[in-house]
């Protein structure tokens, strides 16, 4: 559905996007994960045709994004920075953006109602956007991307500043969109979101694409082993049973099958006072790929 080939963009001497290539399949939710300044938003804005790349190309359904209105109609975007008319009401914003995509009359009205429900702003529909809280604006910002019912949706860090309840609602809506077969590109620096929503995840840093796979694929390839830490009730009679040497009663070892190892120990008569299994996650994937923590 979306083909990105060798996309690059520099600002002066800074390579914001450095020769990235990937494909997003129809109906897939594609995550773009990276720390601040990785180049996610820059890549997104080239993909949707809001700015021009220095080199490379983007094909949407086989056609260049610059080909015109038909391609653009397929796309909906919720930009990272809010893009709303502050002195117009929620409803007017939605109506205006919907009408730009050719909607009119009853169809426009029912799409606007749907979008207001999505944004949970039905009771504030006639209030000016400038009277909204940050989270409300963010929800409306997403709704504006969806009002014309696009096939391809790009969410650029849509949950920044949204409270946990609304965030959950947003996730449910996105899952609904997934179930409807929409193609979604979702950028975030929250690994939990990528883990929950995305079929495949691309990890970006300093403008380059470091890895691209399913969650399990990334964890298997770059996550390393799980870490098991435990405190034992007493030292076992046969210490050779243990995968690592004891530090007093404290035990720590790495394993690719932590649960099997633990149950083997338990059946061997090892008594655990505490037990903690740390499975690898995207954090450890990022750490192993860059030597830095994602949360820097």
């Amino acid at each position: 559905m979306i083909v990105v080939e060798g996309l690059s963009k520099s600002f002066g001497s800074l390579k914001a996007v450095d020769a990235i290539s990937f494909e997003v399949h129809t109906g897939e939710t594609f995550g773009l994960l990276g720390p601040n300044g990785a180049g996610k938003s820059t890549a997104i804005s080239i993909i949707v045709g809001a700015s021009l790349g220095d080199s490379g190309r983007v094909l949407i359904g086989g056609r260049d994004i610059r080909d015109g209105a038909a391609v653009r109609r397929l796309i909906g975007i919720a930009p990272q920075s809010l893009a709303l008319y502050e002195v117009l009401s929620a409803e007017r914003n939605l109506r205006f953006f919907g009408s730009l995509y050719g909607l009119a009359g009853d169809e426009l009205a029912s799409r606007v109602d749907w979008a207001l429900r999505f944004a949970q702003l039905e009771d504030r529909r006639r209030d000016l956007v400038r009277t909204f809280s940050g989270g409300m604006k963010r929800r409306l910002n997403m709704a504006c991307a969806l009002v014309h019912g696009p096939e391809i949706i790009l969410f650029d860090e849509p949950t920044v500043g949204v409270d946990p309840q609304s965030r959950n609602h947003i996730f449910e809506c996105i899952e609904q969109l997934k179930a409807d077969g929409r193609t979604i590109i979702y950028t975030t620096h929250y690994m939990e979101e990528a883990q929950r929503l995305c079929d495949r995840i691309a990890i970006m840093d300093h403008g380059r694409l470091l890895a691209l796979d399913t969650l399990d694929g990334l964890l298997g390839e770059h996550g390393g082993a799980a870490v098991v830490t435990a405190d034992l009730v007493r030292a076992p009679a046969d210490v050779s049973l243990l995968p690592a040497s004891l530090d007093g009663l404290h035990l720590r070892f790495e394993s690719r099958q932590p649960l099997e190892d633990v149950s083997r120990l338990a059946t061997g008569g090892v008594a655990f006072a505490t037990l903690h299994v740390a499975r690898p996650d995207l954090e450890s994937v990022f750490l192993s790929l860059t030597g830095r923590s994602l949360r820097d």
Partner: protein
């Protein structure tokens, strides 16, 4: 077209919420119009160093007429414009002057009739009338000019006394005519003879009077005694030069064009700001991603501004009608307003790309507005400007806007005469739009 209309409608809704912008678009011009109306209606002062540019058409070509002209020049209040073509006939020069006044290129002309020199400066002989044609939008200066004429005539009287030889033949001739006349009965002859005898005493007192008049002339007041027979010429009616009925219905006819200027400049600044706000609040991003062309985005913005300018003008014209303004030619007024609106769209486009922040654009826009309004005559009458400012005012599109509006309201312009200011307005609009669009299309981010 639907898209452009949608864009424009959205902008008008956005601007509706901009209270300050609305005040500058609608409130401010009304304020200025009313204020200027009162000023035009009652202004009667002037300052020492004001320079009024006038033409003198001398049909007499006598020594006296030359003295009068010298006196005008020496008054220090007027600059005399030399005739464009000195060889042209007096009639042609006069026509040229009237035309120039009508087009706003000249403040006034003074016509000295043939035979002026024979009687000028002699109190008891009323000579042919001196013609005075003044730009009707300069009511203030008109009063001043009459004062200056009186002053110059007063000077001629003084000249007559300084040179009694030139008076004596006239007195002698008068006395002889009276005494030799058969129609005059002896009683009358005696009275008139006595009158001529006391002339010397009377004339002695004239010096004092002259001094008074000089003062009166300088403060702009009208002398209580008619020193000169001044006949006002209506320059707005070139086909009937002697038609004295003025086309100006009310002071509002004159004050509204300059006031409208403030409203349209308000539109330019306000819509220029909505354009940068589009960028700063991120909505420009959505517009660029939407299935519309950049040309439609820009046209929508321009259309909104155009509509707003038309609205301001409609409101001002309606208000003008209510106050007694009667435009000469409503169709030309429409043409002038449309040209002005197009010009403002161009100015708005250019302003919108001056800076990247709202503060920068609105600051720069209002700065430019104040300059354009000042040089366009929106603050002080052009006549009170130093010469270099008058020259610069030609470069303010607003001075052409005012001229086009005045041309339609009371200057009685023909279609051909309307074309110059309207063409300049449209050219400025086109140039501004082109430059703005070019700069905007390079700013993709």
């Amino acid at each position: 077209m639907r898209t452009i209309w949608l864009m424009a409608l959205k902008d008008l809704k956005v601007v509706r919420h901009d209270k300050v912008g609305l005040f500058f678009i609608f409130g401010f011009p009304v304020l200025m119009g009313v204020l200027f109306g009162f000023i035009n209606a009652s202004f009667s002062g002037g300052s020492e160093n004001v320079q009024l540019e006038i033409a003198v058409i001398d049909a007499d070509q006598s020594e006296m007429s030359q003295r009068f002209i010298d006196a005008l020049r020496d008054s220090g209040s007027v600059t005399l414009r030399p005739p464009a073509d000195a060889a042209a006939s007096v009639e042609a020069q006069r026509e040229q002057a009237i035309n120039d006044i009508r087009k706003g290129r000249l403040l006034a002309f003074i016509g000295l009739p043939a035979g002026f020199g024979e009687t000028a400066g002699i109190m008891w002989m009323e000579g042919p009338a001196i013609e005075l044609g003044v730009d009707p939008s300069r009511a203030a200066e008109s009063g001043m000019l009459e004062g200056i004429i009186m002053q110059a005539m007063g000077g001629l009287i003084a000249d007559r006394f300084a040179d009694p030889a030139s008076m004596r033949p006239m007195i002698e001739q008068s006395r002889r005519e009276i005494l030799e006349s058969d129609d005059v009965n002896p009683a009358t002859k005696a009275i008139l003879g006595g009158f001529m005898g006391t002339l010397d005493t009377f004339m002695g007192s004239l010096d004092e009077l002259n001094a008074d008049l000089d003062e009166a002339g300088e403060s702009g007041g009208r002398p209580s005694m008619q020193l000169a027979n001044v006949q006002t010429v209506d320059v707005t009616a070139p086909n009937e030069p002697n038609d004295l009925t003025s086309r100006i219905g009310s002071p509002w006819d004159v004050s509204f064009p300059s006031a409208i200027l403030w409203g349209v400049l308000g539109c330019a600044a306000t819509f220029a700001v909505t354009m940068v706000r589009e960028r700063s609040q991120g909505t420009f991003y959505r517009l660029r991603v939407a299935p519309i062309t950049r040309a439609q985005i820009i046209a929508g913005k321009g259309l909104a501004c155009f509509i707003a300018v038309i609205l301001v003008n409609a409101v001002m014209v309606a208000l003008g009608y209510a106050l007694g303004m009667r435009p000469d030619n409503p169709a030309f007024l429409g043409l002038a307003i449309a040209s002005l609106a197009f010009c403002v769209v161009g100015i708005m486009m250019l302003m919108s790309v001056i800076g990247r922040s709202e503060e920068a654009v609105s600051g720069a826009a209002w700065g430019a507005n104040v300059l354009m309004a000042m040089f366009g005559g929106g603050m002080i009458p052009l006549a009170f400007m130093p010469a270099f400012m008058k020259t610069l005012s030609q470069f303010s599109p607003m001075s052409w806007g005012v001229l086009a509006l005045e041309g339609a309201i009371w200057r009685g312009f023909s279609l051909a005469e309307m074309l110059l200011p309207c063409a300049i307005l449209i050219a400025v609009g086109a140039a501004g739009t082109a430059a703005g669009v070019m700069i905007l299309s390079r700013a993709t981010d």
